[in-house]
Amino acid sequence: MHLLIGAALASLALRKYAPLMGMAPDEADDAALMEDACRGVAAAFEQLFERYYDRVYHYARTLLRDEDLAADVAQETFVRAHRYREKYEKKLGTVRAWLFSIAANRARTYAQRSRRPEVPLDEAALASAESAPDPFAANLRREIIIDAIEQLPPELREVIALKYQNGLTFEEIASALGLNTSTAKMRALRARELLATRLSALARGARGGGET
């Protein structure tokens, strides 16, 4: 009997904290970790940090285009998320959407402070250009694609960062950014079109001049 109880308890612990013990991180879910974090289990919140720190950093980096500011935003996001963890409510959205909403707010605050000028994008010219798929564009160097993303207007590049690089659903993006879902979708589409046009042009240039 003792053996069974012991094994059951150990099994529960192993399942819940599987990632900490070297198992696949998907086994424990964000909401359960958040619940534990609210109970004061610091390890649970640290696991959330492990899962999302890099993503939050990348999101902030895309938005702010500055590694130091991005580091500050990512750090503050988790410190604040921990501080206000009891305010998280499951019904309002997923944990990751909540984390990204904190990151979005922090990033906007930093963006206002740093006031780094945005590079104006000639949307009209891009819109009239061909936006057909270009397989070669997908093979451009990663840095070139990152640069192209960073040249998008901020409201578009944050959607790109959340949707395609962090895997959020449109509903989660809407929740994180305070938009409605259709706006999030339209922004994603607009961003994709602008990027495709820009990258196709770069790819054509690369093919012509060997720049990539």
Partner: protein, 516 residues
């Protein structure tokens, strides 16, 4: 063909590919549309891969901040009493213990005794037997006993978080509480005892053993940095970022100060301001009076580049020189330090540092005037002349003063086109005397009609750099409180020394510069 049979435009197809619009009946059955949608979806892969990841230093800093917050937060969120699901590791250990107890009882052997030992340093530590612990996730051969927080133990979270070593990038960091942590970070109290410095992050080896973040460094431990930068901190003295491959040791100097000796590589030092320290190489020693500088050991010499504050470089038996912001100085063992030069490649001196540790602002050195007497008296413009100088052995010797009998020797420059003064201009002279005496640099300020002077006592036998910003120069007229103002005119400088008795004063160089 009806309109519904027509292929939609690229925008619609991309919207379908993005999941923004549903695929209609035509798209589902049209092979051309399907191909285009697949091509549009291929774009997503490029986007997914275009991700920037943070440096391990950045991540570690964030984790440290989080842990600090967690420690504060744990007071606000009290632990519930009694058994709870939120303490799974403790429960699992208990479960294993109970299981072992049952098995042992069944076999009729005496039960094992739970060992509760007081921690050698810091809070109470419960050290379970080896089999009860999950395998350590981070190799930590030199780490102290794992810190285990039991149900009744006081939760202790180290102030400084361990930084994931670049040698074990995949290893997740230790949890904050609950789990039997192999965290190598020492409790705050124990870390200070007997340790000259503490490894904060990065791969460092002592002999063949890898040190973990939090490892203490005692006197004369010889250490080697791995393939990424390492951060070492000495409480209150300085934080050092050491380049990959650097070799160094820490020791106590004659006055009890920390000395970081670099045998290979380079180090960026940032003062913490509470206690003194120095960085030494085989060639000499760099003692900061400011905050940030780089020491790079090169083939045959050492180079010091000052980012902020002033660094005094001393070479045993050969002299010293002050390196001000934006300047660099190369020096070699047994040779007098050369004159600091504007660090033209100052950005390069720090480019090896991770972005998070790189100085936010680099000084812009401005060399206004530089007179070196290594090859004699430098030529001057019209109407300007050197006064009271004779060239001796690659320097100038000041001539016996005939103007003031209380002064032994005097030399200087008279130049009608001398630039305007500014409080931020630093004047430095590299001098040598044959007996201990005061040496004074004088600047005549046209506006206040007075000499502004800087008086320094110089010890004999070695080349010594004396100098200061002009704002620190005092008027020579007793009772005057005038100081130099930006734009004041001047006609040169004078250097004099001694008290009327025989004295040899040599001057190697005089430099006027302006920092950032």
């Amino acid at each position: 063909m009806s309109s519904s049979d027509r292929c939609p435009d690229n925008r619609t197809l991309r919207a379908v590919a993005c999941g923004v619009e549903p695929a209609g009946a035509h798209i589902a059955s049209c092979s051309r549309c399907q191909e285009l949608i697949e091509a549009f979806r291929a774009e997503e892969k490029a986007l997914r891969d275009a991700v920037r990841t943070p440096l391990s230093e950045t991540r570690a800093r964030a984790l440290a901040a989080l842990r600090k917050e967690t420690r504060g937060g744990s007071r606000r969120v009290p632990r519930p009493s009694g058994p709870r699901v939120g303490a799974p590791f403790v429960l699992s250990i208990l479960a294993v213990f109970v299981t072992v107890l049952v098995l042992v009882k069944a076999l009729g052997t005496p039960p094992p005794v739970e060992t509760k030992e007081p921690a050698p340093e810091g809070p109470r530590i419960f050290v379970p037997k080896g089999d009860e612990l999950p395998p350590p996730r981070t190799p930590a051969p030199e780490s102290p006993p794992a810190e285990v927080v039991s149900e009744d133990a006081t939760t202790t979270i180290p102030e400084v978080a361990p930084t994931p070593s670049s040698e074990a990038p995949e290893a997740p960091p230790a949890p904050l509480t609950e789990a039997p942590s192999p965290s190598p970070v020492l409790p705050e109290a124990s870390r200070e005892e007997g340790a000259l410095a503490v490894l904060r992050s990065g791969p460092v080896k002592a002999g063949s053993k890898s040190l973990s973040p939090g490892a203490r460094m005692r006197d004369d431990s010889t250490l080697v940095v791995g393939t990424s930068v390492a951060v070492v901190e000495s409480e209150g003295a300085a934080s050092f970022v050491l380049a990959p491959g650097s070799q160094f040791k820490v020791s106590k100097g004659a006055r009890g100060e920390l000395v970081l000796s670099v045998a290979k590589g380079r180090v960026f030092a940032r003062s913490l301001g509470k206690s003194s320290y120095a960085v030494s190489t085989r060639d000499g020693r760099a003692q900061p009076h400011g905050t940030e500088f780089v020491v790079a050991l090169e083939s045959g010499s050492t180079r010091v580049t000052t980012i902020e504050g002033t660094v005094r470089v001393s070479v045993d038996g050969a002299g010293s020189a002050d390196v001000r912001p934006g300047f660099e100085l190369g020096f070699a063992r047994g040779k007098a330090p050369s004159d600091p030069r504007p660090a033209t490649a100052i950005a390069k001196a720090v480019e090896w540092l991770p972005a998070s540790t790189r100085p936010k602002e680099l000084p812009t050195p401005g060399l206004l005037l530089s007179y070196s007497f290594a090859t004699g008296l430098p030529p001057l413009g019209q109407g300007a002349e050197w006064q009271g100088m004779r060239v001796v052995n690659g320097a100038v010797s000041a001539e016996k003063s005939t103007q003031d009998t209380s002064v032994s020797v005097m030399a200087g420059l008279e130049d009608p086109s001398f630039p305007k003064l500014d409080p931020d201009i630093t004047v430095e002279a590299k001098v040598k005397v044959d007996r201990a005496t005061r040496v004074v640099i004088l600047i005549w300020d046209d506006r206040i009609k007075d000499n502004l002077g800087l008086e320094t006592t110089v010890e004999p036998g070695a080349w010594t750099t004396i100098g200061a910003p002009l704002r620190d120069f005092k008027p020579r007229t007793p009772g005057s409180k005038e100081t130099v103002q930006a734009g004041d005119g001047a006609h040169g400088f004078t250097i004099y020394a001694g008290d009327g008795k025989t004295l040899e004063l040599s001057i190697a160089s005089v430099v006027f510069s302006k920092g950032r």
